[in-house]
Symmetry: C2
Subunit: 435 residues, 2 copies
């Protein structure tokens, strides 16, 4: 009998290749070491009885701003520029500090785990604080430190940010859960010089590049006016896509740009809720799929979503794409779940060891309860996940082989403390914005 850390018994194990059926999953030293029916030869430290549960690969949330968690619902139903200039930017200016970012990211990470997210790809400032929050909660994180030409947070120049990234990359190099990345904010806030510096540094340190791309029609029009070409063409013109790039939003790309992305293995982070809520627009992602662009799913920040539910994003994205393409067969449920898990891991350059329930991969799993009336009847677990469920049926979350949430209780943080702290900031922010 081989001693192992964890055995998940009798769960309905999602499989993208083979039949999804009731199996056991054996986990040791953070990894999946066996998947099969009625596994016998193990002596587990802990057993999870997963009868009437679906075992799902953890969701990859590929575009977030966890440090903005306290701005959830601060101001809604407003034009983008009014929202930014009257609420978000002044509030950030007044409140942003390492401590604020840590506190906000902590509740953000906690909420992500509650939504079945096991890795997130962030873009914000004070990345070390978000790294510490993720470490505390026990979730994987890629911290893209925001690069802008203008002064940000506590840095006057982009070069200081690059130095910070080098330092952080060194500091967290061996960390099991944390990576750093370089996040030039967008082509309209980061000039060619800094975009090239970012790309060069990313290549040197083998880091991901994370950028907002073609989120609004305005961005495209301005780019054409200024550079004589569209945003993806512009970035391509000086080799930005030679790096490992994930582009967030990307809803205003023409087919030629889609080809550029595909040829350069650039992945897209789809943010449907945010794009609709801010009235930024939408695009047919069927065309992106036809051009072989790798897609992934993201929530954006709670300031423009206003939650962190990947299940809601899957449902919304799949449904919207069907009607946009006048074809209900577009983005079927199984493909949608794959985009939110395995393809998300691929977008983050981690599909070799994340994103599916396979021997040798890291044990990042979520257990979804189907023993409730909302889950009846259940003909197809993929359809059920995308179209029927809400995040509350996600009961247990395992990351790197460790239980992070058990029966919806987070194990590494005190939820009441998070609530109290959020109310503390709420009162101060509300007072500030209403004055």
């Amino acid at each position: 009998m081989q001693k192992i850390d964890l055995l998940i018994k009798n769960g309905l194990v999602l499989d993208f290749e083979q039949k999804t059926e009731v199996k056991d999953v054996a986990i040791d030293d953070g990894k999946i070491i066996a998947v099969g029916k009625d596994l016998k030869n193990y002596d587990p430290l802990k057993v999870i009885e997963a009868q009437n549960k679906i075992v799902v690969p953890g969701f990859a949330n590929t575009h977030t701003h966890a440090g903005m968690s306290y701005f959830k619902g601060l101001a809604d139903d407003l034009p983008l520029m009014k929202w930014l200039t009257k609420f978000i930017w002044p509030t950030e200016k007044a409140f942003l500090s390492p401590k604020f970012v840590y506190d906000a990211a902590l509740i953000g990470c906690a909420e992500m785990v509650k939504n079945g997210i096991t890795i997130f790809n962030d873009m914000y400032f004070f990345g070390e604080q978000t790294a510490k929050a993720a470490e505390k909660v026990g979730i994987r994180a890629i911290l893209g430190e925001g690069v802008l030409d203008a002064p940000v947070a506590n840095y006057q120049k982009a070069d200081e940010i690059f130095s910070y990234i080098k330092k952080m990359n060194e500091k967290f190099k061996e960390h099991e859960l944390i990576d750093f990345a370089i996040a030039p904010h967008a082509i309209y806030t980061c000039g060619k010089e800094n975009l090239i510096k970012a790309k060069d540094l990313a290549e040197k340190l083998d880091l991901l590049l994370h950028i907002h791309l073609s989120e609004t029609r305005q961005e495209v029009e301005d780019c054409i006016k200024k550079h004589g070409m569209r945003p993806a063409q512009y970035l391509n013109s000086f080799g930005f896509f030679e790096g490992k790039v994930i582009a967030a939003h990307a809803i205003w790309l023409d087919e030629k740009e889609q080809e550029i992305l595909a040829n350069n293995d650039v992945s897209i982070a789809i943010n449907t809720s945010s794009n609709l809520k801010l009235a930024s627009g939408f695009d047919s992602f069927k065309s992106y799929i036809d051009h072989n662009v790798n897609l992934s799913i993201a929530t954006d920040s709670v300031a423009s979503n206003n939650n962190l539910s990947i299940i809601e994003e899957m449902s919304l994205t799949a449904k919207l794409q069907k009607v946009l393409n006048d074809d209900p067969t577009v983005l079927p449920a199984k493909q949608m779940v794959k985009i939110a898990t395995l393809d998300g891991a691929k977008a983050l350059d981690k599909s070799a060891y994340l994103g599916s329930i396979q021997i040798g991969k890291k044990a990042d799993l979520i257990l979804v309860d189907i023993d409730n009336i909302e889950s009846q009847p259940l003909y197809d677990p993929f359809s059920h996940l995308v179209y029927s469920l809400s995040s509350e049926q996600i009961k247990d979350v395992i990351i790197n082989g460790k239980m992070i949430m058990e029966n919806r209780k987070l194990l590494n943080v005190d939820e009441n403390e998070l609530i109290e702290k959020a109310r503390y900031y709420h009162d101060r922010i509300e007072k500030f914005t209403s004055s």
Copy 2:
């Protein structure tokens, strides 16, 4: 001290007119008898401590097919006609019986209460069975008996259905929760003769008329071909809208048709999830609002949604309408909640006594928990309801002054029995459709 049935203490009471603030709600004999701060002069049989809860008027789900509950997720991501002809219609033909409809409607009603729905407007067959299921669960229901020219369920001719409606109307006349209605299925399944008969009977008995209208582009094109005019014009041409009509879907109406609806006080049941998932289409409801058409929110059946979450429908509808109108100020959260409650009650001709938390109205209320990390921070309860929450935060449901769900446990049905029965039907339906 006045003896009363129920006192809800210290809840954040949603108000469409005045400020939403912490208040008490006093309930007696099924009605709201007082709303105010720190109510003193009552001696309640039961007190609900609603601190950290939002008190919301119950949701009105204005277009459902509760008898189809066992077809949830039976077949997804398929073209409409393949879905109907290969799965839904043959399965209905094989399984439909009074007992099947009762069982399916029972779990459907249970799931509706779990989603905060306190009244639903159904269209299906064997209405008495659905009425009994609603009565058992304790939810208000309007049972629109489906009228088609072709034989349905156990009726060969529409005249038999009209007789059944008369009988049922008589039988349930004094029932506190149940009304019957007449539901001509659609203009392409119900000819002018039966549409007129339905309208005449509805006027005679003072019943609602409930019809599918302009759900697909095909329906409009066929109508123009056959009748030389668009569907709403066609119905108007022989006075159908003289009745009290609620039209489900209605996403392919031109402005002239929108005017016809407004002039005749016809309300619309919006079914965004179903319209997107089946790729039926979408329309800008801003134009309907500008034409003064009363809007309401519906889930359609779980066969094409695949859940019964009004919160999801509010979120989806508000977001989609913003992007369609290129304007994030369209359908702000407060208006969206009003559409899902008070305007829904108006669509069902019941706004005089349902749909808002006001003295004299029936006590149909839901209590929404905000003492969780997903609800932090909370700046605006309307925004929170529409954009942040899921149905699982709905903890308690009160209908007609009675507790129907307490801390997410249904009080009038055994949920385990519902689950077992659903699994029984699941196995039989799966066997039938895969053979």
